[in-house]
Amino acid sequence: MPVLEARGVSKTLGTGRAALRVLDGVDLEVQAGEMVAILGRSGSGKSTLLHLLGALDRPDGGTIMLTGRELTRQSARTLARTRLRHIGFVFQAFHLIEELSGLENVLLPARLPGARRGAQRRAYELVERLGLTPISDRRPHELSGGEQQRFAIARALVNDPELVLADEPTGNLDQANGAAVLALLRGLSDRAIVLVTHEPEAAATADRVLHLTDGRLHADRLSTVKALRESA
């Protein structure tokens, strides 16, 4: 059974004359241990799709199933619980809380009501595994971009989610740090990972690359690094 399954997902943003149908019947399946990259131009609806897959927003049409549960019919409270226990987010802007240290940012999901058992222990283990212990007491403004994103990745994994969603995780990083982050994501085994990016190099690390154009996902036939570079 796929971890994530989306069928006929559609979404319109804006109202009236400004309404824009950014997603128009999107189909997607992601298996456990698989990393799927979604490429698209700016404004193509990549982030919107990620938000729908991550239960941050509701589609106007279609269904989204996560580990066999349909997200589209869940209440707001249930969706929050689903995000807490089954989904981890990595954002382009990191979104670390300035008043908290790196470690405390990682611990944040572990302190939410309903967090999985052992989440706090996992948080400390993740910080150690990612080599962040020496800098765990620093505030975000004292960290480099790469360090911040590593803390963000640790935060996303604290509740041991089945699905990890990364929205342009290398967008604010230099090449070296970006590569390191991608390697980290690549190293997450047994999880379904959906990576949204506009960088072909980033997409090249994925098992499968899909293009989002005209509101629909298209498989990329030339899914080799060289072909992707040439097409970019």
């Binding site: 943003l13 982030s47 919107t48 938000h51 991550g54 941050l56 927003d57 707001a76 409270r77 929050a80 619980r81 689903t82 995000r83 807490l84 226990r85 989904i87 987010f89 954002f91 979104h95 809380i97 300035e98 008043e99 908290l100 240290s101 470690l103 405390e104 611990l107 944040l108 999901p109 302190r111 939410l112 009501p113 309903g114 967090a115 706090q120 400390y124 212990t133 020496p134 800098i135 765990s136 007491d137 403004h141 004292e142 935060r155 509740n159 929205d167």
Partner: protein, 735 residues
């Protein structure tokens, strides 16, 4: 609060002056034993600086019956031609040649529900028609005093009675009052039982009747004014903080500093003007009625149109404060780097924060804290840290809440103090609980009553200072040690011991410039003078602190007819009712400081309750505003929290931490403010001649803390509901 404070302060603080002006209160009122009017007229016409005078016959203990209400203690003023010394506030004045008419005090009419043209019977007279209501500020009205009515000689059937016992004297220049009084005493031969009272004496008399209630109310209002101003300023500043990003955008596109400040001021004006109008109306309506009832009891007119100007000032102030509080921070903010504003700066000085960050970076890297020590107090701890990160706002909001809490504590302390002043004679330093109208010879018999610990004759009468005849003094005397029965705290010097010594109240000491070693010279009603050496100054609420304790032997030498009662001190735990019953009808419980002011106290409590409720609502508003502002600024943080699965409970915990970071110091500030500043200030303002017990007790503190917690809970619930309605992606700024 501004309007409410002004109504109370203006009405009560200036009520007497308004009443005296409207009624044309005499400069001197003289009472004496009944005497021929021709003799009195002759004596008065010999006085210098005389502008006019009128005579009356004052009868007391008269039966007055108005159907459902009656009294056997009414005071009847039988008018002779001349100035009245009262103001007609409804109907018309008496026509002296027309019998069958009566004018009532307005307070009496209100208390008994009497209207114009009602019929009342007075003593043996046939029914009299009420033609007018009067306000005479020389005394308080029923029910604080006995009912008082005015009739003509023809109505009273006293046309042929040439006697009078009261004269009202008006002077051309009241500055020569003392000289006139000296002359009056010198030329008053033949007139017995002379008792003078001047305008200042009347004011003291009114204060005595109303206790210290009026002074406390006025002082409370002044403190409320200051608190209201702080709250308005903090609120407007918070609004500017919320708009900083918008200010940054406008600066980025070229708006000038002045334009931005003016825009902010105009926006604040658009909100402040209707809000101030509603607030002033509400405050006025809430307090005008109770204040008017108070004034009626004091025989003083309501402020009426005199309030328009101060209320207009309050309205302008209520607008000006937030407008200025918005314009000034906007002006300052507009002078900052627009990029900093767009990134979410705060109103506090940017340089300070930059230096702070520089110092943090330069600090040598510390060893990482242990993993366990980094485990801070969860979401609530995060909320507290978010609140603390905006130090200026935290301080302003804490101060606002602290002032509110302190103010409520003050009101609760005031209510408790009033209760004890009303019912506990110990508040006056009295250690006796009963008095009895019995001669000194009965003391031995009274002492034998079970439960009686001590008995002594007590003498009390009003005298005047020989050098300032307008200053009345309550002279109290005991044979032996008076501290057994009255023990007001000693402020300076020592207790009197010898026959030629006295203790004076701090109010009298201040008025006459007395200190231990000074000479106290008193003109007794007998016409003799009593001279004593002041040995001590005491803190006393009685008679505004214008009191002198003297040896009984000295007083009786000067005035053998000094009024006497027996002061009775009960043993601890004794049954006062049994003692009172054993003493019979001559016994009376010792009065508290507010004495006949009990109805005033009840009205005051009503005002205090109303103001406390308003204050509580202000606290809730301040907390909601602070939480909403924090949610607005930390929109992304809250969105991240929700993105990772935090529901309303999690957001609620976060806001609870923020609210606690405000409430805990605010409660502390409020308690300290009341204990160290507001209570003592109010006590000094109200009764600078005595120490007032105005410290909130543990119960009041607990009540205020619970109230703050409740306000915080309401604020958290409200803002959490609003915050969790927004789409998560909108908060992340990506949707």
């Amino acid at each position: 609060m501004l309007a409410a404070s002004l109504v109370v302060a203006d009405s009560l603080g200036r009520g007497f002056d308004r009443a005296a002006g409207a009624a044309g209160l005499a400069d001197v009122i003289v009472r004496f034993d009944p005497e021929q009017a021709s003799l009195v007229r002759q004596r008065i016409e010999a006085l210098p600086d005389l502008a006019g005078f009128s005579l009356r016959q004052e009868l007391s203990g008269v039966d007055l019956d108005a159907g459902q209400h009656s009294s056997s203690q009414a005071s009847v003023e039988v008018l002779w031609p001349g100035r009245r010394g009262y103001a007609i506030v409804a109907g018309r004045d008496l026509q002296l040649g027309r019998p069958g008419e009566i004018v009532l005090e307005r307070g009496l009419a209100d208390a008994w529900g009497l209207r114009l043209n009602s019929l009342v019977s007075l003593g043996p007279l046939p029914a009299l028609r009420v033609v007018g209501f009067a306000e005479a500020p020389d005394n308080v009205s029923f029910p604080l005093a006995v009912p008082r009515v005015y009739v003509s000689r023809s109505t009273a059937g006293l046309q042929s009675d040439p006697r009078v016992n009261l004269a009202q004297i008006w002077l051309r220049d009241p500055r020569y009052l003392d000289q006139v009084l000296v002359q009056a005493r010198a030329t008053s031969y033949g007139l017995r039982g002379l008792r003078y009272i001047t305008r200042s004496g009347v004011r003291v008399l009114l204060d005595q009747a109303a206790g210290i209630v009026i002074d406390l109310l006025v002082a409370l209002s002044l403190i409320a004014l200051a608190t209201a101003a702080v709250m308005l300023g903090a609120s407007a500043r918070a609004e500017v903080q919320r708009r900083l990003a918008a200010i940054g955008v406008r600066r980025a596109v070229g708006a000038s500093r002045g334009h931005l400040a003016l825009t902010q001021a105009l926006e604040a004006l658009l909100v402040a003007a209707p809000a101030a109008t509603l607030g002033v109306l509400a405050g006025t309506l809430a307090t005008y009625g109770p204040s008017t009832r108070l004034l009626t009891m004091l025989n003083e007119p309501p402020a009426g149109a005199a309030l328009i100007l101060p209320l207009a000032g309050a309205w302008l102030g209520a607008i000006a404060i937030p407008v200025l509080a918005a314009a000034w921070p906007a002006w300052r903010a507009a002078g900052r780097n627009p990029v900093a504003l767009l990134r979410g700066a705060e109103l506090s000085r940017q340089r300070q924060r930059q230096r702070q960050r520089q110092r943090q970076r330069q600090r040598p890297r510390q060893r990482p804290r242990s993993e366990r020590s980094a485990h801070q107090a969860g979401l609530a701890g995060l909320g507290a840290r978010l609140a603390a990160s905006r130090r200026a706002r935290l301080a302003a909001t804490t101060l606002t809440l602290g002032c509110s809490a302190g103010f409520v504590l003050l009101m609760l302390a005031l209510a408790s103090a009033l209760t004890s002043l009303e019912t506990d004679p110990g508040a006056l330093g009295k250690r006796y609980q009963l008095t009895a109208l019995l001669p000194p010879a009965a003391a031995a018999h009274v002492r034998s009553i079970p439960g009686v610990q001590a008995v002594a004759p007590r003498y009390e009468e009003q005298a005047a200072d020989s050098f300032a005849l307008g200053e009345t003094v309550d002279v109290i005397a005991y044979p032996g040690d008076h501290t057994v029965f009255e023990d007001p705290p000693l402020v300076s010097g020592r207790r009197l011991h010898g026959p030629g010594e006295a203790e004076v109240g701090a109010g009298l000491a201040d008025a006459l410039g007395l200190s231990p070693g000074s000479t106290l010279a008193l003109q007794l009603p007998s016409g003799n003078e009593l001279r004593l050496t002041v040995r001590g100054v005491v803190s006393s609420l009685q008679h505004d602190g214008r009191v002198a304790y003297v040896p009984a032997a000295a007083l009786l030498r000067g005035d053998p007819a000094a009024p006497e009662t027996l002061a009775i001190r009960a043993a601890p735990g004794a049954d006062l009712n049994r003692i009172e019953t054993a003493l019979g009808p001559s016994a009376e419980l010792a009065a508290g400081a507010t004495a006949r002011g009990v109805p005033l106290v009840q009205v005051l409590r009503a005002i205090l309750r109303a103001v406390a409720i308003v204050d509580g609502l202000v606290c809730v508003y301040a907390l909601i505003q602070t939480c909403a502002l924090m949610v607005q600024e930390r929109r992304r943080t809250i969105a991240v929290l929700r993105a990772f699965g935090g529901g309303p409970a999690a957001v609620g915990r976060l806001l609870t931490g923020s609210v606690l970071a405000l409430l805990l110091p605010a409660a502390l500030v409020g308690i300290l403010l009341e204990r160290l500043l507001l209570g003592p200030a109010l006590g000094r303002l109200a009764a600078g001649y005595a120490t007032l017990p105005l410290q909130a007790g543990a119960t009041s503190i607990a009540a205020v803390v619970v109230g703050l917690a409740a306000a915080g809970a309401v604020a958290v619930a409200w803002v959490t509901r609003q915050a969790t309605r927004e789409r998560v992606v909108a908060g992340l700024g990506t949707g």
